[in-house]
Amino acid sequence: MSGFSREVTVERIAAYADASGDHNPLHLDPEYAKSTQFGGVIAHGMLSMAFVCELMAINFPDTWHSGGKMKLRFKAPVFPGETVTVSGEIQSVSEDDGKKTAKCSVACVKPDGAEALSGTISVALP
């Protein structure tokens, strides 16, 4: 699959909070975030999920909206200033009643190689 990278800036996190309505201080309040297990502000897990959705919409523009199914696990926090690489791979293709479905593995990988998010997705093939 054709992947991409996204820089996760403080500005992007704030814009995502406003657009999604998720104002968890863990993502927005440095003083509060410093007191948590993460030691500082982290990006929303749902932002990484949105990147993965973009990956699928780029690669499967005709079918992702109608039948895309995802199962994702948030594995490591993404900190402001980090650039994540969003990628996926088709693992198998099955056919049922003439309808083809691709099963894919997807991941958002941090600069240090750690997976911020990974999971599996199924999507219909046109």
Binding site: S2, F4, S5, R6, R12, A15, Y16, D18, A19, S20, G21, D22, H23, N24, P25, L26, Y32, S35, T36, Q37, H44, G45, M46, L47, M49, A50, F51, C53, E54, A57, I58, P61, W64, H65, S66, G67, G68, K69, M70, K71, L72, R73, F74
Partner: protein, 165 residues
């Protein structure tokens, strides 16, 4: 600590009949997540993304290679809004929970069944699917259905959240 607030405490929530069964979380002055039983119905919440907010969402998640989505909302936007409403209803950003370290989103499932256009009215109906304590932390899971104005299912989601003990 939050003071006792009337429920529902956000007048932006429009309460409508939920297609999801189970006891309602109603008449509650203050949410105590440890006392909310699995099976409890949450919501429903009605919302829409107008064109301006849809554009802001696309800009927040997007980059040079972002798709146009054929004019529809990025499907994750609908799930994100539903999750935000759930978190608010369950008061998961309440002072006691924040003092204990705050909530952590651990996993997310979603299925997208039909495109949602900017301005389209969506109703999210949810059910607390699980509420357990393991190793001192509480793990809750919530299943949500999203329906359009024609009552057609446009998406489903399952969110798992860890609440520190």
């Amino acid at each position: 600590m939050h003071g006792v607030r009337p429920y529902p405490y956000n007048s932006l929530f429009h309460q409508t009949a939920s297609p999801i069964g189970g006891p309602e979380l109603s008449g509650v002055d203050k949410i105590d997540i440890s006392a909310v039983a699995a099976g409890t119905r949450l919501g429903p919440y009605e919302f829409s993304f107008n064109a301006d907010r849809a554009s802001k969402y696309r800009s927040a998640i997007g980059g040079d290679e972002s798709p146009g989505y054929g004019g529809a909302l990025p499907p994750a936007a609908v799930v994100a809004e539903g999750l935000s409403r759930l978190i608010e209803e369950l008061d998961l950003f309440g002072e006691e929970i924040l003092k204990a370290g705050g909530v952590v989103h651990t996993s997310q499932e979603a299925e997208f069944l039909s495109p949602v256009m900017p301005g389209e009215l969506i109703t999210a109906s949810a059910r607390l699917a699980g509420n357990t304590v393991r190793k001192g932390s509480r793990f809750i899971s919530v299943f949500t259905e999203f329906r359009n104005a024609s009552n057609a299912l446009v998406a489903t989601a399952s969110s798992s959240i860890m609440v520190p003990g």
